[in-house]
Structure formats: C-alpha cells, structure tokens
Amino acid sequence: MQSAIGKVYKFGDNVDTDVIIPARYLNSSDPKELAQHCMEDIDAEFVHKVQKGDIIVANKNFGCGSSREHAPIAIKAAGVSCVIAETFARIFYRNAINIGLPIIECPEAVSGIKEGDEVEVDFDSGIITNKTTGASYQGQPFPEFMQKIIDCGGLVNYINAK
C-alpha cells in the first residue's frame, strides 16, 4: 500500500505557478535549486519550515497559470509527499502525474483540514485521514489509465514499458 503522511501547510484559491516557482528562477531546471524557491512568492518561509513528507492542502484551481513542469518538480523536490486540493488546474494535474507527484482532489477534506494537522493519504483507496481530528474523507481516485502511468513511475517509464 502506497501512502503519504505528514504535517499540513494550507493555501487558498488559485495558487498559481508563478508563486509556486517564480519565473526569475526558471533559468534552472535542477530540482534541488528549484526546491529552494518553492512557494517563495506566497510564503517566503515555506522552504525553511517544510519537512520531508509534509502535505500541501489548497482550495480550488491549484497550479493555475503557466505550463512550467518546474512547479510540481519544485514541490516534489522540496519534500512534499502529496497535494490535496478542491480542484487542480489541468496542466498542473497532468504534469504532476507525469513527474510522479501524488495529487488528490477532495473538497470535503480541504474544508475539514487545518494548517498544522497531521494527515495520512492512502493512494490506492483515495482515503484521506486527519490524524489530528480523527476524521476521514474519500478523495477522488485516479482513472485507471492515469493509475497505470503512476504505477510505472511516470510517463517516461510508461512509454518505455509499452
């Protein structure tokens, strides 16, 4: 069973790729370097606080804006194990799957989880458990085809396996 467990950092609506990784850092595509500036323009302290395994929880349209794959790469390289949101912008959604950053849509979980809560996500079942409050939520599991890409460890391996 694949799962993520960690402390939650909460964000609002329409977190765009420009605040996730500002364009001034796009002259690099090195994950480690990108990670150092992850979320910098929305929360400059984020990269100093975040611990390996922590979880981002956000409202609607997370990852809107540019197609830069650097955004999910920065989040993943910063140690974040999963992003839970009400909805994701479509290019971000695609990119996250392609690079192997687990994401899950669940509006109920978003409204029930607070900053600092400890949360566990089970990717097989889509069940999200708030360990701080004991509440659990059913997230939207991936369609079968996307699950296959994830199981292969991303789109590159999926194509190689075909």
Partner: protein
C-alpha cells in the same frame, strides 16, 4: 449525440467515428511545440526514453523566445541544449535569434498551424491556435517529450462551453476587451478542463489578430482550449501564410454544451484587469486615474501588427508622461519590420517609448522591464499574478493596446476614447 468542433477534431485524430466528453483517447499530433524554458526539461526526459529519433523532424517547433538574446549564463546554457538537440535531430522548425519571435505569434505567421490540426505545446498559451480552427492545448515538458518521441498524446475529451458572440464593437474595443470581459464573467476557473467554443454573427467583426488574442487567454479561464469556426477571414489568413491543406470542422446541430453565454460586442467598454488575477476586471471608467510607472505593449497576446498600429495611432505626435517607462515589443521579426516600414517604430521612439527586439522578456518578469517593490505597470500581456513582472509587491494591470497607449501619455490609467 452530436459533437462540438473540438470533439470532431479529436475524434478524427484518434481514428474514431465519434468521441464524447470524458473519454480518454490517444490522438495523432500535427505539431509539438517547446520554448527555451520548457524544451530543456523535455530533452532531458526524451533522453531517458528508448527512442533513437524524434517522430517527425518537420512536426516539431522549438522557439527560443523567453530569455533571448540570452539574459544570463544559465539561459544561454538552456538555449545551447535546445540548439544542439535541434541540430542532432535535424529539426526543421528551430527558431533562434534573428529568425524567431514569440512562439504563439510566430507559428501561425510561419503557416505551421492550420484549421483541423491537433497541436500540443509545452507552453500554456498554446491554446492561441484555436483562432485558426485547430485544437491546440498547453502541456508540460514530459508530455512534450512523449509527443516528440511518439507523435501522439493522451487527452481526456473535454466538455464545451458555448460563447455566442453578437453585435458590432464600438471604436477602441478589441479582442482583449472581449476576452477580459469573458474571464471577468466566468472567473479564472470558469472553464476548467473544458473547451471554450466561440460562434455567432458578431465574429465577422473580429480580425484574426483579435481572435488570436481571445484564444490565447482561454487558459486564463482555466480552459483546455479555445476554438473559433473557420470563415472567410480565417481562410484568407491561412492562404496568405501557409501552403498546408486545412480541414474545416463544424459543430453538429445537436452538439452538447454544458453552459452557454452571449457576449454583445456593442455593449462592451474597454476593460482593465486589476491585480492579482485576470478575473478582477473593471471597466476603464472605474479604473481611470490609477498611477502607473511602466507600460508594456507586446507579448503573445497583443504584440501583433494591428496592436502596434492601434498604439502608434494613439501615441502619434504625443509624448509619454515623465517617468513612465514605455516598452514596446513587436512579437516577431516580421512584425518588427512591418512596423518599421509603416512608421510605427519611429512614432514610438519619438513619443519617448523604447522598442525591443522580439522577446517574452517583461511578460514573465524575465528581463527588460522588471518591476521594483511598489511599482505598477499597465500591460497588454495576459497574466497579472503576484510577482509576475518582478517584485512580489509590484502590480500588473492588464488591458488592450489602446488603453495601455493612452495611459502611457497621461501616466495614469486612461480611457483611449478620451485621448
């Protein structure tokens, strides 16, 4: 059940008689696009794939436009990586300094996209080519790599929203006002995962440049793509720019739309989107008087010849306000040259603006017009997110070239109808 324009194009490229919203399909690609930011990541990924060569050397376009001529060593390394890849794979459509332009202005101008095509690009504004009656959408670098390797991409067939365009626009109303009005109406996620299909008798008043601007910003409403039907205006454009055969897809009478909106062009006033989202729209009446430090006229949204003409007509014989840096960026070399021949460049320089070689530059806060804390810019670009053009405490207001040029003269956001 009937299909929309987008669904018909996708069905044809997936070799299926019909498709419906929500279906997962694999479609053949007519073009795969990347730029100097996204291509290096894609090249890195394709190197991990078990392929010896790209699927088709003519069906890949690599455009160096964001940070060129290179602003620093790292961006030079990126372009070098793409240049070497293009050479090694004998990519026909590799565009570098001297023959480049901003990708979404350049590709239609070079005739690389025509009606009926399926295009993916590792750039969110790839949706621009919907103006030509093509299905085109932005993807990430890994999708681009897979597209270059296999010539195919996976799509979830989108549901559609219909925008019925009626009426005749008044003076000073352009495609930018139409799309800002729509985004203000439906919000930045109003078309999430869906295609935005424009139709109606009002389209005859919208030039190709207007349509490119509108389709360009479909992504700012969360849309997967924006698409226009093909009419005489589209056909004339394609015949002038491309030698390729095109195919016209019309929506079925009984095509299904999850929502329908009517936009009456005759009722539109110039629109300004306030920081920090394109949906924060106000009429120029309400926006008037906001003090600005910089004006940018350019980008894949509004750096085409008609945009420069509108700005030049307003700036002709006038001078920009003191301390308002006015930056004009023609979107391609061809537009630059035409603007020079028509005297627009002279007008801009005499008015106290600067004119740059084609580049994305300030649009994404890259270089050439980065803002300091507390500064405000009115810009014809497409995004006004926090920090988009520089410091996190700077502000970007989005508007048409007419509003931007009028504001440059006064130093405050101004109504072009009063200049």
């Amino acid at each position: 059940m009937g299909m929309t324009m987008t669904q018909k194009i996708l069905a044809a490229h997936a070799g299926l008689p019909s498709v419906q919203a929500g279906q997962l399909i694999e479609a053949d690609l007519d073009l795969v696009l990347g730029n100097d930011i996204t291509s290096p990541v894609a090249i890195h990924e394709i190197e991990k794939m078990k392929v010896d060569h790209v699927f088709h050397r003519d069906k890949i376009a690599l455009v160096m436009d964001h940070f060129i001529p290179n602003k620093d060593i790292k961006s030079a390394e990126h372009c070098k990586c793409v240049r070497e890849f293009a050479c090694a794979n004998e990519i026909t459509n590799y565009f570098d300094v001297g023959e480049m332009g901003i990708e979404h202005a350049l590709l239609p101008e070079k005739g690389l996209v025509v009606a009926g095509d399926v295009v993916i690009g590792a750039d969110s504004h790839t949706c621009t080519y919907g103006a030509l009656g093509a299905f085109s959408t932005g993807v990430g670098s890994t999708d681009m790599a897979a597209g270059m390797a296999t010539g195919k991409a996976w799509f979830k067939v989108p549901a559609a929203i219909k925008f019925q365009i009626v009426g005749k626009p008044a003076k000073c109303i352009s495609g930018k006002d139409v799309i800002l009005h729509i985004i203000g109406m439906i919000g930045v996620d109003g078309a999430l995962y869906q295609s935005m299909e424009f139709m109606g008798e009002g389209l005859k008043y919208l030039s190709m440049d207007d349509r490119f601007t509108i389709a360009n910003m479909a992504i700012e409403a969360g849309g997967k793509n924006g698409i226009f039907p093909v009419d005489e205006i589209t056909e004339a454009y394609m015949k002038e720019h491309s030698k390729r055969d095109y195919k016209i897809y019309e929506p079925d009478e009984d095509a299904e739309y999850v929502a329908e909106y009517t936009v009456d062009l005759s009722e539109l006033a110039p629109v300004v989107a306030f920081p920090h989202l394109p949906e924060n729209t106000k009429s120029v009446e309400e926006a008037k008087g906001v003090k600005i430090d910089q004006v940018v006229i350019g980008s894949c949204t509004n750096g085409r010849l008609s945009d420069l003409r509108i700005a030049a007509e307003i700036l002709e014989g006038k001078h920009v306000a003191k301390n308002v840096r006015t930056i004009v960026i023609p979107a391609t070399q061809k537009i630059y040259l035409e603007a020079m021949e028509k005297g627009y460049i002279k007008t801009f320089i005499e008015a106290g603006a600067i004119v740059s070689t084609p580049t994305c530059g300030p649009c994404l806060g890259g270089y050439m017009g980065v803002l300091a804390a507390g500064e405000r810019c009115i810009s014809t670009t497409n995004r006004n997110f926090v920090g988009r053009m520089g410091h996190v405490d700077s502000e970007v207001y989005l508007a048409s070239p007419a509003v931007a040029a009028a504001s440059a003269i006064t130093g405050v956001i101004s109504d072009p109808r009063e200049i």
